[in-house]
């Protein structure tokens, strides 16, 4: 019975590669998808990039981001799952800003 429950839960959680690209005038940022942080590294042109394969469970994918930067620094998290990209954007006013956004599975063309 316990094995059946575990198998059922595993089948609901689908593993997908999540790619992140952070651009803008911010100093640095971090993001967690479904409470799993994705390591970000500064790349050649100064953007932050990272990717990780995570179990994603329907019906929503929760993204929690934090950025630090100076007054009115813009930030843009590009989240790519299943070749579909969604964005978390904004401006920093007080040194640091936290966002939490819920994306429905269908937003990334994932089967529920």
């Amino acid at each position: 019975m316990a094995k059946k429950v575990a198998d059922s839960e595993a089948s609901r959680a689908q593993r997908h590669e999540v790619a992140i690209k952070l651009t803008g005038g911010m100093r640095r940022g971090s993001i967690a998808i479904e409470a799993a942080s994705i390591p970000l590294r500064k790349t050649g042109d100064g953007t932050f990039e990272g990717k990780k394969t995570l179990p994603l469970e329907a019906p929503v994918i929760t993204a929690t981001s934090v950025v630090k930067g100076a007054l009115l620094a813009k930030y843009d998290f590009a989240i790519t799952i299943n070749d579909v990209t969604k964005h978390i954007k904004g401006h920093i006013r007080d040194g640091v800003k936290t966002d939490e956004e819920n994306f429905p599975f269908s937003a990334f063309k994932l089967d529920e």
């Binding site: 005038g25 100093r27 042109d45 100064g46 007080d94």
Partner: protein
């Protein structure tokens, strides 16, 4: 060295492709007789066409860092920057299709420690940043070396410097950063303390219709001396403050930059320099300076003895930084 205009355009295009999206991490401005030690961590690799009243420069930067999971983790990065710049005192990098050579390369290691916010500071806590840097620059120096009382040898030398520097940036908040840095450089063919003079090669002489003597000559600015090698150093401090926005979220921001430096050398006398003035930063990129007007005092005590009048030790520096992204 002559470079056809089309090659100049190709060079700029290549630099543009190499940099990708533009952003800002380091101050490219020369202020108070040196490059500002402010290194604001984060931001994107920058590619700027910098133009100042005294010189122009095309530069690129590229970054690598260790991965982090949280914005409160320490951040270690390496920055490589390169630029082509005009000889100091010459206003144009490309003048009449002619490329005035001068380049600089730098490698900087940065380590940033985030200040942990407490309840009262909340989001306004800043960071501590330590950096070490090695840099080399080279510029053409034209000389007319005296052989004896009657003859001069015309030559073109490479003025080269290799420097090691390091410093500390204290960010009180994300908008206010105070930097301290020290730099030691060895200069080959140093022209420090020397002034260029006009050296003319007389090509033809004659008289005009009224019998007035004429001389046709091609003239060049050269140092009338044998250039030597020397060690030089600089201690400096800089403060940069992002003060306010001009309007809404998509507006530019107003800032202020203050610098002070002490230059010491084995050959030339020490000089104390200061600089202060407002800056305008790019919209949505509050650490990327587009314009600056800096009032500078150079060798305020006239230790070098080259500016006996006080007004000759004060100047206005205008700076314009154009991201390659704007040229699309």
């Amino acid at each position: 060295m002559y470079m056809k205009p089309i090659l100049v355009q190709a060079l700029l295009y290549i630099l543009f492709l190499a940099c990708g999206r533009s952003a800002l991490a380091q101050f490219p401005i020369h202020t108070a007789e040196g490059k500002s030690g402010l290194l604001v961590a984060g931001g994107e690799g920058v590619s700027l066409l910098n133009y100042e009243v005294s010189e122009s420069r095309v530069g690129v930067k590229t970054f690598w860092s260790l991965p982090t999971h949280s914005v409160n983790e320490p951040l270690t990065e390496i920055m490589f920057d390169a630029g082509f710049s005009a000889t100091k005192g010459k206003r144009d990098l490309f003048k009449g299709g002619s490329f005035t050579p001068g380049f600089d390369l730098g490698l900087t290691l940065l380590h940033t420690l985030e200040k942990q916010p407490n309840r009262s500071q909340s989001a306004r806590s800043g960071y501590h940043q330590f950096f070490g840097r090695v840099a080399v620059d080279m510029v053409e120096r034209k000389v007319a070396e005296p052989n004896d009382e009657d003859t001069l040898t015309l030559d073109s030398l490479a003025g080269t410097s290799l420097g090691l520097g390091g410093g500390y940036n204290h960010a009180f908040t994300e908008n206010l950063v105070w930097s301290w840095s020290a730099l030691a450089q060895h200069h080959w063919n140093s022209a420090e303390g020397l002034k260029e003079k006009d050296v003319c090669l007389q090509e033809r002489t004659g008289v005009d219709g009224n019998g007035t003597p004429l001389a046709v000559a091609s003239c060049d600015k050269r140092f009338i001396a044998s250039l030597t090698d020397e060690w030089r150093g600089q201690l400096r401090t800089d403060v940069f403050w992002v003060a306010r926005a001009f309007g809404d979220e998509s507006s530019a921001t107003l800032g202020f930059l203050t610098s002070a430096s002490l230059d010491v050398g084995a050959r030339a006398a020490s000089s104390f320099n200061v600089s202060i003035g407002p800056t305008v930063q790019r919209p949505e990129h509050p650490t990327q300076v587009l314009f600056a007007v800096l009032l500078e005092g150079v060798d305020l005590a006239n230790n070098a003895g080259q500016s006996p009048k006080f007004r000759d030790r004060v100047r206005l520096r205008l700076y314009v930084g154009v991201p390659f992204e704007f040229l699309k």
